[in-house]
Symmetry: C2
Subunit: 194 residues, 2 copies
């Protein structure tokens, strides 16, 4: 199977998540995430699969317009790193697919830990040998949830689904992104406080 | 002025936020939060002001139904603390008002820090001398954003506003809660990583 550069989902390169599947069930319940959300995420898969490049382009346009965000893809002197941006672009597309597939198993959980580590200074830049800022500050992680999910909505509505279905898919996405960001936060949080 | 027990907003009892107003402006931009959101939050104030008890009741019903959440309002042996629940109930109502007023000044910023400390073991339980679990685990803070905002939507729609206005108010609330939770996270994050 052809792998995207740096995409290690389901491989032995991914460390074990410090959060257990059982603990994750409690997190899901907290976000009111149910099997219905799994169904709506999977409904969104067929809709989004051929639109991932366009979606990530919108995200990149936004990030590119925000000096406080584009610097994480830039050298410390402020030069945006095109190679790094291109490699993460492809993995972002894959992340849309992975999220819409909604397979909340141990491989998925472990990969959320890996994604968190790649935002945090533990692993930031390592995957792509990028000379960028070495750490994404946590203060932007939760606010970024809004542009991520807001961008998706018109794409979900493009293939003729009813307004109610679009709304349900979008709510499932909001919950899924909240849960992912919660897991990505783990490396940032002081020991014992997560 | 009559004060709610433990409600110290705007008083010298509240410590200075470690996040500056300038840094918070960058966080707002990251959440796509604009002056339009301020207007829609303030529009929601008149709608929500006389419904805060009913809204917080809904939140409490949800928290009460979730063993992983109600334990933070319970003794370590699992006995829910009615006095503690009643005191936080009244402050939750006030939080709705404060959020809808959308005065993003130094007092507001400082109080978000205080709220974060009251979730974190630094100050959990101190305000109410409550013998409850001493720390709210971070893993639930971001997932809880969904039930908080989802509960609001029908209340925003109850006073005859157009579906578009309701949607705009709700999106402003989503952004506002993301920004608040981002600030509440600060005490949990390792030094230099926020």
């Amino acid at each position: 199977m052809q792998r995207l550069p740096g995409y290690t989902y389901g491989t032995p390169l991914v460390p074990q998540s410090p959060v257990s599947l059982r603990e994750f069930e409690w997190m899901k319940a907290t976000a009111m995430f149910t099997d219905e959300d799994v169904r709506y995420l999977r409904m969104s898969l067929a809709i989004l699969a051929d639109q991932t490049a366009e979606i990530v382009e919108k995200w990149y346009e936004f990030v590119g317009s925000q000096p406080q965000l584009i610097r994480y893809y830039s050298t410390p002197a402020g030069m945006p790193l095109q190679d790094y941006l291109a490699r993460t672009f492809a993995r972002f597309q894959q992340w849309i697919i992975d999220t819409a597939e909604a397979n909340y198993d141990q491989d998925w959980l472990n990969y959320q830990y890996e994604i968190g580590l790649r935002h945090h200074h533990t692993k930031k830049n390592r995957t792509d040998a990028a000379p960028a800022l070495p750490h994404i500050h946590y203060r932007y992680m939760v606010p970024l949830i809004y542009p991520i999910v807001a961008t998706l909505k018109p794409f979900l509505a493009r293939k003729g689904h009813s307004p109610e279905e679009v709304e349900k898919m979008w709510e499932a996405w909001l919950k899924a992104v909240l849960l992912s960001v919660a897991l990505w936060s783990q490396p940032y949080v002081k020991p014992g406080e997560f």
